[in-house]
């Protein structure tokens, strides 16, 4: 699943650790989502959307 997490994080000048702390996950999880190796659960996707004040569809895009 494609996502804009890296751009959104960079726009706020947050490190992966900063974002991980805000989301209550580990830095490795943020990295795995950004590199598209892991698709977050629905609750985590909602948390991301709420944090960046955008809808889930604006941040995550299903492939195909």
């Amino acid at each position: 699943m494609k996502n804009k997490l890296r751009e959104l994080r960079a726009a706020r000048e947050w490190s992966q650790s900063d974002l991980a702390d805000r989301l209550g996950v580990s830095r490795q999880t943020v990295n795995a989502i950004e590199t598209e190796k892991y698709d977050p659960s629905l609750p985590l996707a909602f948390k991301v959307a709420k944090l960046f004040k955008q809808s889930i569809e604006e941040i995550f895009e299903a492939e195909g």
Partner: protein, 155 residues
């Protein structure tokens, strides 16, 4: 800000290793392994001469410690974030499954007499590895392999 989730590397040698967390998670397993190594290997001959109640008590103590270890591991995994919870559940299943599989295979091959032919008849006991101590060593080995494989996938 949210509370920091538990990390798998807290109990795996490396820069994130925490002795405190390792002893909290694996303390009961270490105790079971120590009891087993003392009673099944080092003082096996002496323990065999003890009354049956004492020997049963030792076995029950080992397995009670294993049950408490399973509880502490479950609590530790529950405190992880979703990615690591998924990884660690796979790692634990793989490590426990591989340990059971290997011990059962070894037991069947031993019963068929393979090790007596290969290594000769042992002076005492046999080539059986059906003790908690052997299980502990195998589990640590398979845990390391499974964690290395799963971690590489998400690096």
């Amino acid at each position: 800000m949210n509370a920091k989730p538990n990390l798998p590397n807290e109990i795996f040698w490396g820069k994130e290793y925490s002795w405190r967390m390792d002893s909290k998670v694996n303390g009961w397993l270490a105790l079971a392994a120590v009891i087993s190594s003392l009673t099944d290997i080092i003082f096996a001959h002496t323990v065999k001469q003890w009354p049956m109640e004492a020997r049963v008590g030792i076995v029950l103590a080992e397995f009670l410690a294993l049950a408490l270890w399973a509880r502490s591991v479950t609590q530790w995994i529950r405190g992880m974030d979703e990615l690591h919870r998924r990884i660690m559940t796979s790692v634990m299943l793989a490590a426990v499954g591989a340990t059971f599989f290997f011990m059962l295979l070894w037991h069947c091959l031993n019963r068929a007499g393979l090790f007596d032919v290969l290594f000769g008849k042992p002076k005492a006991g046999g080539w059986d590895i059906g003790t908690v101590c052997h299980g502990f060593l195998l589990f640590v080995l398979f845990y390391g392999i499974a964690q290395a494989i799963c971690n590489r996938r998400y690096k």
